[in-house]
Symmetry: C2
Amino acid sequence: MRDIFNQELKQLGSDLETMARQVATAIERAAESLSNGDIIIAEQVIDADERINDLQRDIDDMCIMLLARQQPVAGDLRNVISALRMAQTLERQGDLARHIAAIARGRYPEPPVPEPVMGLILQMADAAVRAGADVARLIATHDLELAAQIQRGDSELDSLHRQSFQMILDPAHDLSRQQVVDAVLMGRFLERFGDHSTSVARRMAYLVSGGAPG
Amino acid sequence: MRDIFNQELKQLGSDLETMARQVATAIERAAESLSNGDIIIAEQVIDADERINDLQRDIDDMCIMLLARQQPVAGDLRNVISALRMAQTLERQGDLARHIAAIARGRYPEPPVPEPVMGLILQMADAAVRAGADVARLIATHDLELAAQIQRGDSELDSLHRQSFQMILDPAHDLSRQQVVDAVLMGRFLERFGDHSTSVARRMAYLVSGGAPG
């Protein structure tokens, strides 16, 4: 019984790793489609989101099945509940990457916003890409130093987000209304992507340390 | 043992009802602060969000405790997992109500955006207020007809959201950049509030019918 359970927990961890890697790829490609105006890559991100959603449903089903059949307690229970929640968060991050790719696709072949606003959005996108990659590594390694680093990185993303509003509102930068709309939405999507990365990092810290929940 | 469990499940349901009512009040007041420019009400929404967050933590703790101690299966397990997720969704809806109130407060004593854009935003806010009230009733009654109604109401909110972009982009409407930014953000927050209401409705339908999960 315990052997099967351990095997199932291992499978759950491995599915979560796969999902986190797919989300990391999604945000990386979404950022690429923004910076290169590459519509093929934008389409890939949009299509691939279905697979991320499928993985979430699989992980969900597996967690419920594990809870029902194995009735885990203590650390094992925490493990399963964390997986359930992290999968939900990763699914949402996949949606956000898709939304960003959709803006890149919608403005093709132009960049969605002109410089210097675009430069700041791309800086935010870089930070989100780093967060996505770090979360994938964190889920694979359970490295608490990495969890702390993700949380620090999110303050940077929040600060860039605040700067983006100043830049959007600065009349010295020539922006059409569509560009203002796109810049606000991209900023919001990237900031939320960062928030979700932090949420995974906090949950992982809770899971590993048994400390306060995130 | 079963008696205690039933009592605990009842407490969980009652806490979830309280939380849903607080979220319904939050969005109602946020909408009021938008339409009347009432800064006192806006402040109330912002302050009250802490209590919604506290309730989520309580419900979380209770769910984990129930899973660990009672090891529920079948319908009971579904009940606890649904509560865990609905609380998470309601918490997020509380944040969105707070964000809307913060925009109302930030532009005081002016309305955040001029007519006719404001009219459309207020229509969205009305739809969100109805969704919030319906979700609170749904959680109290488990009425599947109400769940279906919430899902229909969300299509209306989505359609208003699309119209809001057309209106924001229409050069015939005089808007400053700050007003474009605020209109985009309010539209986004209200649309997400509606999405979350739908997510609760779907979960409730799943819980009651035992059908496909939402």
